[in-house]
Symmetry: C2
């Protein structure tokens, strides 16, 4: 297994950093290769701008078009190209981050915004009567798996089916489906720890044990059964789910899981 | 009306920047006061780190605790304090941004991560048998209104009830409910333009007309009826919605709208 861990926390002694360190040790001890992109330690630039695209940046700037031209010409900045190469090297990508305001920290969103360029992560594949590009189940990163490892400060009940924050699966859908499944990654069920605001050192061994167990069983873990875009479930080009495919009463994001 | 516009696009000639400029002109012509936080033009720092908290940053760093101490002591960085002051000055806050990977650009997420500190946007109010802090309908920004103005590259059908991206209201819920309603803002229905990837100059007048109309009727626009946290709809402290309050068949994020 070749694993890339993308890590987004500024404090090396935080729970998130401990889980990242534990993942490295656990996977390496099991004989796997591991690379880490520790975004804070790398002083990762979080904002997309014209400087990302070198001579391919036009005026006025168009992010999609210009990032695609820079990708094609090999003129993306070295930091972005290095991340794209790590993604192509890996068969498994783990994202370790705290839920800040119900989604990923800005530095990690900036990794997505900058690394997932046109012609690499989107704008891939032809459009026809039966295909709307290669995405949602196809694409550059097809054949690889991704896994979110997330800490949430609040208690689990707040993220339950009737919890005020909304269900955790729905909060993570824009990331798991919209960012990861889009360029072809299979997404494993997330590893989420709740109530971390009130965690103490005494709680850590249980968390570490659960995380180790997940890490050592990645190979046998079934991905979330998101519906592929181009294989009959959706009308093309409207990309509406065809009638009658879902269990009665299911709606919203849940429609897109088989 | 005192309006703060928080704007997140790097290209002054983009559709987003045009909509921002139009909002400034329209509101000022109508006699309102307007401030703009143009995050790219300000070279906004997108990542939270110890430098944000001055002498209040501890080692190991704890973002919530240390940001609250810096807020209390007045030692947050000047850029963050200026944004907090603008928020307190305003009665209306407009966010203008493109949907990138189904959520806000990193630079805007970094504005939230850094400006919405502990004791300012969260960690406000006491906990008791009937209150779980002041949030979701109460809080520092109560009495003010917020509005998202968002552009989405893809067509509207992809964001419809059965569209592959998920319903736009659900995609925006973590922002509208989790980020804006949380510290007390009332959230007006969003202004969303779809299909902007294929928009031409000929399409702009219609968009501008619709945006102007929204801007000039903000006073009479009803906010989204999110359920306040502390007034009986939720069990405390589990914050689960009590049974029987929702229309039959409603689930997920939709539960939290009356």
């Amino acid at each position: 297994m070749k694993t890339l861990i993308v890590h987004a926390h500024p404090e090396p002694k935080s729970l998130n950093s401990s889980l990242k360190d534990l993942a490295v040790a656990t996977l390496e001890n099991a004989g796997h290769d591991v690379l880490v992109s520790d975004l804070y330690a790398m002083n990762w630039k979080a904002t997309v701008d014209a400087a990302d695209f070198g001579p391919s940046a036009a005026s006025p700037l168009q992010i999609a078009r210009d990032s695609g031209r820079a990708f094609d010409a090999g003129t993306l900045t070295p930091d972005v190209r290095a991340e794209q190469e790590k993604l192509l090297w890996a068969d498994t990508i783990i994202f370790q981050f705290p839920l800040w305001w119900y989604t990923m920290p800005a530095i990690l969103k900036g990794w997505v915004d900058r690394v997932f360029t046109y012609h690499f992560a989107y704008g891939v594949g032809e459009h026809s009567d039966t295909k709307y590009g290669e995405r949602f189940g196809e694409g550059t990163l097809a054949g690889r798996r991704a896994l979110l490892s997330v800490t949430a400060g609040g208690p689990e009940s707040h993220y339950a089916a009737r919890g005020i924050n909304g269900p955790i699966d729905d909060l993570l859908y824009p990331i798991q489906h919209g960012i990861l499944y889009y360029p072809g990654l299979e997404v494993l069920p997330p590893f989420v720890r709740f109530g971390t605001d009130r965690m103490t050192d005494a709680d850590y061994p249980e968390v570490a044990k659960a995380w180790r167990q997940r890490l050592l069983t990645l190979d046998s873990t079934e991905p979330i059964a998101f519906r592929p875009q181009n294989f009959g479930d959706y009308a093309i080009p409207s990309l509406q789910l065809k009638d009658g495919l879902e269990p009665t009463g299911r709606a919203g994001f849940g429609l897109h899981v088989r």
